[in-house]
């Protein structure tokens, strides 16, 4: 899938290259992220790799200013201001607070701000309408919204006995709250109940997960940065309760989760890179609607399932692109 995507990117950009690469001075891109985190680091790398694959040579065609607010929102504003004073040609802002800071600082300028890893750009105030970009001014980007409803449906497909699903999440993360609310609505439609447990720091994930043991039939964790950083705590609680655990992070496969869905954040970075390329090649942010991550994966861990005495139904196995079995990952041809 990566190769196909790269091929598409190369195609798109070969067209645009003639416009900018010929101009001589390198394009200056400021990339800012809110905190060090594997998913956010992967987005940054994906953006850079996508541009490199498209033929932009770092140093001659393009220069990057990389900045990290290290968790401090005031610094996120400082970074955007620093980018502005250095006259960057384009800003890539990873995660909600960084995107909001950049949008505020570059408000009223012509500099495009491309956000990434923002679940709901409308609630975040970045754009007015997800589908209609005409009011966007200088801001557009990619959303990492995951198909929560299909995740809940998938859990239900594992066993008809799954009636209550426990979600561990951080109420302080904007993205996570949006997804948890979506999960509650989706579960209602499927006749399942969601039981919430909150953890505001990774240290509190263990207690939150343990509080759900015996009260739920399955665990579900969305793309919550806090919980995913402490995923081992949820895994041990799920094993203790002998119930399946679905996490919306396919890179967790092999760590002990029963099954995982969603996308690798590196792919999200590549997708963001294609939006950056569109803007470099002359498209205005107010011509580009919110770009959603379309292809999501299903991956299964047979070893972890065996531990809790679960056998995957054939219908679920058919959906999987990767299967962890006997201590190794097996790709399933589709």
């Amino acid at each position: 899938m990566k190769r196909v995507l790269l091929a598409v990117i190369v195609g798109v950009v070969l067209l645009s290259m003639s416009v900018l690469v010929a101009s001589g001075t390198p394009i200056k891109i400021g990339i800012c992220q809110i905190v060090e985190h594997p998913a956010l680091d992967a987005v940054r790398q994906g953006v850079i790799d996508s541009l490199t694959a498209a033929g932009y040579v770092e140093g001659t065609d393009i220069t990057y200013l990389l900045a990290n607010a290290q968790g401090d929102m005031g610094t996120a504003v400082s970074i955007a201001q620093d980018f502005k004073s250095q006259n960057v040609d384009l800003v890539v802002a990873i995660a909600t607070p960084t995107a909001q800071a950049a949008a505020q600082v570059f408000n009223g300028t012509d500099t495009p701000v491309i956000y990434a890893a923002v679940t709901d750009p409308v609630i975040a105030g970045l754009v007015l309408d997800a589908d209609d970009p005409s009011e966007n001014e200088n801001v557009t980007g990619t959303s990492d919204l995951i198909p929560v409803a299909s995740d809940i449906a998938l859990l239900k497909e594992l066993s008809p006995q799954i009636k209550k699903i426990g979600i561990v999440y951080n109420p302080g993360e904007a993205n996570s709250v949006v997804l948890t609310d979506l999960a509650v609505t989706a579960a209602d439609n499927l006749g399942v109940t969601i039981v919430r447990a909150v953890a505001d720091t990774s240290a509190n994930v263990q207690v939150a997960a343990q509080s759900l043991i015996g009260r739920v039939d399955a665990f579900y964790v969305t793309t919550d940065n806090t919980i995913v950083s402490a995923i081992a705590s949820v895994i041990s609680a799920a094993e203790e309760g002998r119930i399946p655990f679905l996490v919306a992070d396919p890179t967790s496969l092999g760590s002990g989760v029963t099954l995982a869905t969603g996308f690798d954040y590196y792919q999200h970075g590549l997708l963001t890179g294609t939006v950056v390329q569109q803007v470099i090649s002359g498209k205005k942010p107010n011509e580009i609607p919110v770009t959603y991550q379309s292809k999501t994966l299903v991956v299964l861990d047979l070893d972890a399932a065996a531990k809790i005495g679960l056998t995957f139904p054939q219908s679920v196995i058919d959906k999987a692109s990767k299967i962890f079995y006997g201590g190794a990952i097996w790709e399933q041809a589709k």
Binding site: Q81, Q100, A103, G125
Partner: protein, 299 residues
């Protein structure tokens, strides 16, 4: 270059108001108060939710933010003086409670002000002719007014008793003053200022986030201590001014770390290290000069 100094000054002054709050508890009351990590967000939360959901005036919400912060300070004060909980723990408890309360106030963890009429728009409309300097001018006016009101307050009878409570509580009790009340009042004033700063910063940044208060105590203390080591004075005007100067130095250090850190081979992930190194240099150079001057004299 000039532009980043303007931005650093804007932030230094806005966060300087929070540092003045920390100054009141840490230096004047001698009460290490950790409530501020929560009350900073309370100010931002109240201001932004009233702006977005109820269409309040962007200046009026700042006063309400101050009041909400003051209430948080009162709670810490009562926990300490009435329930006998130690100062550090009372502050920690308030800070933790405020996390949930702030989420309640906002209704969600992040409120965007990007499409709301804020003080920034009002200022750009009012002093628009000044261009880049308009926000700095406004922020300077606000911060200096807060500073001078504080200086005047500490010259009133209550203000003097408050100072005395921190210096020598027993002496004040001997004068027949209820020092418990004075502590509560001091904490209210301090957290009111911190929340005012939070309300201003939210409007300046374009959003309020429940995580934006993390480290308020650290940067506030940094400003108080940096300023205090550069300007040694017992005069209220100089003491408060030194806090603002400390805050300006801290924010300028962040800006310099961002701008020049990578020039000398540091990576984005080294930001906090570089910031601290710049602050250390800012502290050591004047002290070193002083020592050199003394040495020359003794020769």
């Amino acid at each position: 270059m000039a532009l980043i100094l303007i931005h650093a000054a804007e932030q230094g002054l806005l966060y300087g108001i929070a540092a003045l709050g920390v100054f009141i508890t840490y230096r004047i009351l001698n009460f290490p108060d950790l409530t501020v990590d929560g009350s900073f967000v309370t100010g931002a939360a109240i201001a932004s939710s009233l702006l977005v959901s109820h269409g309040f005036d962007p200046f009026v919400v700042l006063l309400i933010a101050f009041a909400a912060g003051a209430l948080a300070g009162v709670i810490t004060g009562l926990l300490n003086t009435q329930l006998g909980i130690t100062d550090l723990l009372a502050g920690v408890l308030s800070m933790i409670m405020l996390y949930s309360i702030n989420l309640r106030i906002m209704g969600r963890p992040n409120i965007s002000l990007l499409r709301t009429h804020t003080i920034i728009h009002a200022v750009k409309g009012g002093f628009g002719s000044l261009g880049n300097m308009s926000i700095l001018l406004f922020v300077t006016l606000v911060t200096l007014s807060v500073m001078f009101i504080l200086v005047l307050f500490f010259k009133t009878e209550i203000g003097l008793v408050l100072r005395a409570t921190g210096d020598n509580e027993r002496m004040v009790i001997a004068q027949g003053v209820n020092t418990k009340r004075m502590k509560v009042a001091g904490l209210a004033l301090s957290n009111g200022l911190v929340a005012l700063s939070g309300g201003l910063v939210a409007q300046y940044s374009g959003f309020a986030d429940v995580g934006m208060g993390i480290g308020t105590i650290v940067t506030g203390l940094a400003a108080v201590i940096i300023g205090g080591s550069l300007i040694r004075s017992r005069k209220m005007v100089w003491m408060t001014a030194s806090v603002l100067i400390g805050s300006l130095i801290y924010r300028t250090a962040v800006m310099f770390a961002l701008r020049y850190g990578y020039v000398i081979g540091f990576q984005a992930s080294d930001l906090k290290l570089v910031t601290s190194l710049i602050v250390i240099v800012a502290l050591v150079v004047p002290a070193f000069r002083e020592r050199m001057a003394k040495r020359v004299k003794t020769c």
